[in-house]
Assembly symmetry: C2
Homo-oligomer: 288 residues x 2
Amino acid sequence: MNLSQLKSFLAVVDTGSFGAASRELGISQPAVSQHVRKLEQSLEVCLIERGTVCVPTHRAVAFVRHARTLIEIAERARLSLHSDELRVGASSNVGTYLIQPIFAQFMNESEIKGKLTIASNPEVAEKLQQGEIDVAAMEWWNEADPESRRFHNEIWREEPLVLIVGPGHRWAGRRLVQADLLEEENLLGGESGTGTGRVISEGFGSIAGKLKVTQVLGSTEVVKEGVKAGLGVSLVLRSAVKEELEAGSLYQVNLRGIKLKKRLQLITSSNLPETSCARKFCEYAMKI
Amino acid sequence: MNLSQLKSFLAVVDTGSFGAASRELGISQPAVSQHVRKLEQSLEVCLIERGTVCVPTHRAVAFVRHARTLIEIAERARLSLHSDELRVGASSNVGTYLIQPIFAQFMNESEIKGKLTIASNPEVAEKLQQGEIDVAAMEWWNEADPESRRFHNEIWREEPLVLIVGPGHRWAGRRLVQADLLEEENLLGGESGTGTGRVISEGFGSIAGKLKVTQVLGSTEVVKEGVKAGLGVSLVLRSAVKEELEAGSLYQVNLRGIKLKKRLQLITSSNLPETSCARKFCEYAMKI
DNA sequence: ACACGTTACGGCAACCGTAAGGATT
DNA sequence: AATCCTTACGGTTGCCGTAACGTGT
């Protein structure tokens, strides 16, 4: 069984005749006959009912579908190697609030074509490992994973995490509060797998264990709405709430003696050639 | 690009060496080298990074996945031809209330292995045309469709449709009501695409246009619950409500002068050999 | 020296096109 | 007679194993 045999088989099924199939494929008609015969021999099944029009055998009907997807995937596999597109992935927050303008500028200036995919942090990591994207802008990258050795990571930004409260909250408008007062608050969690937990436990020290994340809301957008509604407070990337802080729909409160930072990283395959689009994009992003 | 080349490539990726791959595949080691080289040549890309361990190139990472699915689908395609299983499909009602015991008996007596798939009527039709099932027991089969010529259909049962009402309904317990009174009732519709509409318009004649199906609930189970809850009345296959009628949780009411029947059919591919499991199953089902 | 991948080479099978052969309409 | 698929045949190519050859440890 091989792909050209399958192509001939499908051409016969589609055109209804061996001759038409041969013309469509640009090969001789006996070649088509041979392809189909070989296929039938190797599979030990009659595939085509020869008649005034040729149709797939009853048994072969399901096989036709499989054959089609085979050809299709083979084509996709080929394309996956030759796409000169730059495929950038970014975790939700980074993608939503930080990467987009940079990505757009880069495409403009370099005239490199590309695609930006925004997904959750773990999904982006998965896509990177699967080769579905070339560069990932992420909030958290597990360096401990042995798989990570195949990749190169670079700290791109150090973005502050800020404590936000809603306009109705008793801290709204205050500049500074004592960190341990946070133990009393409902802390809303956003997207999981973004390393926020780690940043908190490193930043808060002994207090960290006493904080309780009461709800995990899945996305920063939902968290913001939750905080606005008075459901609780939250720690989010400053860049994610820039507009709300300016508009006054959310309030930032600093915690005495505590500075939380998230290291945003750019990840690429190691061993990328200097000339690769992915490298260029990283350099560009680092400069800005 | 061909399948054995891909297999060699994957074996190298999985084992990390050409030699191990050759042993795994039971071919010579230069053959593996050649496979990979040919693949690389035909795709014009370097796929494997030769080193103390061999790993896929950055560009090839996505290709590995595609290659795997290709091999997998090729295998499935092969199996789809040689499965000697009898694959029976049945639309929801037929499958749930009528076919199951017959199918089980048939498997027992004939020692033929098989699988029963129950899905909506249109889905079953689709599966039959796609060759995913060999026999379909259906409530409605569109003979007008030109595709239907490739199939043979046989009327298996004529199952009465009965009007059911809930225990709280004013007709509960009555044997007979005037048909045109149905115009005042909320008629609940079940699974669509089962031809009930057609049966109704044929059976009711001029009244048919005045009946209004107020809700389409998707499945007979849901309809039964709806009728029990007093949401309305419905027309369902008698076999679907046998137990409820006996238990008294639903009531059957006859309509004066009207008999509704649904023709349940067995559909197979035409041109099936006499000895095929599908034919045998049909004969068996017809006898019982 | 050893393990490993590549290159070289030869026999065999596969492939494809041309040409001829049946079958059906 | 025309159309269509199959069979037959020959030149070319591809495939795979053995053996020899680099290379790095």
